[in-house]
């Protein structure tokens, strides 16, 4: 079970409170987590990564276990505490603007 924390605007859009829990095959990656997230919540397609290229939107960041994974390969395995569910995968709206 992987725990995902969405930014407030996307929680509103997806109509969820708190964390989202997803079943993702191991080894889980950013790619497979986002696939599972968008399958469960199709309204999030296009909001985190581009509809067509699947590239991360420039002002969205991915944090996990105290590290910024935004520039890691989308197919790289996520850290063990993420795949075990002991730590959440954080999707963040970059701090910019107002």
């Amino acid at each position: 079970m992987i725990r995902v924390v969405l930014p407030p605007h996307l929680r509103t859009l997806a109509r969820v409170d708190g964390e989202v829990e997803l079943e993702v095959k191991t080894p889980a990656s950013q790619h497979s987590v986002l696939d599972a997230l968008e399958a469960r919540y199709p309204m999030l397609r296009g909001t985190i990564r581009d509809h067509v290229t699947h590239l991360r939107r420039p002002m969205v960041r991915f944090f996990a276990c105290g590290d910024d994974l935004s520039h890691e390969s989308p197919d790289a395995p996520l850290p063990d505490p993420i795949t075990s569910g002991s730590e959440p995968f954080l999707i963040i709206g970059a701090i910019a603007g107002g």
Partner: protein
């Protein structure tokens, strides 16, 4: 008694303002989609309770919202029966290889979808809506917003590589549908200019003859003009009125040629322009000091009205701040109702929405502390 509903898009959500036909007491609802930019929100003239909204974010991209009950409840088109939204309605994908346009530094830059600036519902079908987007292109839905498809003949026009972004981006912000000819539509892009189709959107031609813009290498070029807004009275679709980056212009031949009608305006820079609902030669603009100082001249907020289709303008000041006012009025932030007398509405970057129930003679703020106003659309309801 008739009612008026004013749809307001702001930097931080949408608001719906309603009044009876006297337009004296207003009810304010919102914010809808709190925290998101609402670039435009507009109702169908066929079914006024059918309203479309462009909800957008630099962070999270484009969302299309739809209300079928006059703005009380909203859903993304294509939602399942339980209301759970899907993602298809947010897909704006250019047709084929997008190609390139001119960038700020003069180099070529790929077309990249950013947001929907303007939603124009069809005059005949509540499920058909046109969307003007950044980077400039025209999309259409025929299924109530569930899916959107590009009318790519416009973007693929031979002049496309010469189009360039204005300060706000390379946006298609104006869509005028000709009530007398369903095949004819005019659009405007910053900074490319105006274009017209006479075959329902398949082919397009630039309609910029007579425009003169000092900020491009050839001031009389076929494209490259920063058109800010075009307005048209539905009874006279051949008469078009334009607020350009500088200059107020008019055309009497559906855009084939333009002439300047700035006349005695204190500044001919501005963004919105609109036409009185019952007087096709009465037009309104809000002069702004200059391209580098986007606020009213001398800190006095004044709407200017011409009853002669341009050239002769009168300042409308009663009820508007006449000192220390440094707001702007953006291109989609002015609208008219069709009551008698005609109501005029506009919103400011300072969060005020002003209304006049007597064609501009007197003004009052409906609200004065909203987020910066991006768009205003008035609906006249039975």
């Amino acid at each position: 008694m008739s009612k008026v509903r004013v749809l307001v898009g702001t930097k931080k959500g949408a608001f719906v303002l309603t009044s009876d036909g006297t337009r004296k007491r207003w009810k304010v609802s919102g914010p809808h989609f709190a925290g998101w930019e609402i670039y435009h929100i507009k109702g169908s003239s066929v079914d006024p309770d059918r309203i479309y909204a462009s909800q957008t974010s630099e962070w999270f991209g484009q969302i299309i919202q739809r209300s079928d009950d006059g703005g009380k409840t909203w859903k993304t088109p294509g939602s399942s029966p339980d209301g759970m939204p899907k993602g298809e309605s947010n897909m704006f994908v250019y047709d084929g290889v997008p190609g390139t346009h001119q960038w700020y530094d003069g180099t070529q830059h790929p077309w990249e979808f950013k947001r929907v600036w303007h939603l124009e519902p069809s005059l005949n079908d509540p499920d058909t809506v046109y969307a003007g987007v950044e980077d400039a292109a025209l999309f259409r839905t025929t299924d109530g917003g569930k899916s959107w498809h590009e009318l790519s003949g416009l973007r693929k026009h031979d002049t496309g590589p010469k189009w360039q972004p204005g300060a706000g981006g390379m946006c298609l912000h104006t869509i005028l549908l000709d009530p007398s000819n369903p095949e004819r539509m005019s659009i405007a892009i910053s900074a490319a200019g105006a274009f017209r189709t006479d075959d329902g959107g398949t082919t397009w031609k630039p309609i910029n003859r007579g425009l003169h813009s000092q900020y491009i290498p050839d001031p009389n070029a076929e494209v490259g003009h920063c058109v800010h807004r075009i307005a048209m009275h539905p009874s006279r679709p051949n008469n078009l009125f334009m607020q350009k980056h500088w200059d107020v212009m008019r055309s009497d031949d559906a855009g084939d040629s333009w002439r300047e009608v700035s006349g005695n305006l204190p500044s001919d820079f501005g963004f919105p322009i609109d036409v009185h609902a019952h007087e096709p030669e009465t037009i309104y603009v809000v002069p702004i000091k200059s391209d580098s100082e986007h606020y009213p001249p001398k800190g006095r907020l004044r709407v200017y009205r011409s009853r002669t289709g341009g050239n002769e303008w009168e300042a409308l000041t009663k009820g508007l701040p006449q000192r220390n006012c440094y707001v702007n009025v953006l291109r989609d932030a002015m609208s008219v109702d069709s009551l008698e007398p005609c109501g005029i509405y506009f919103g400011t970057t300072g969060g005020q929405v002003y209304a006049s129930a007597d064609a501009g003679d007197h003004w009052k703020p409906i609200v004065h502390d909203l987020p910066a106003v991006l768009s205003v659309e008035a609906q006249t309801l039975p």
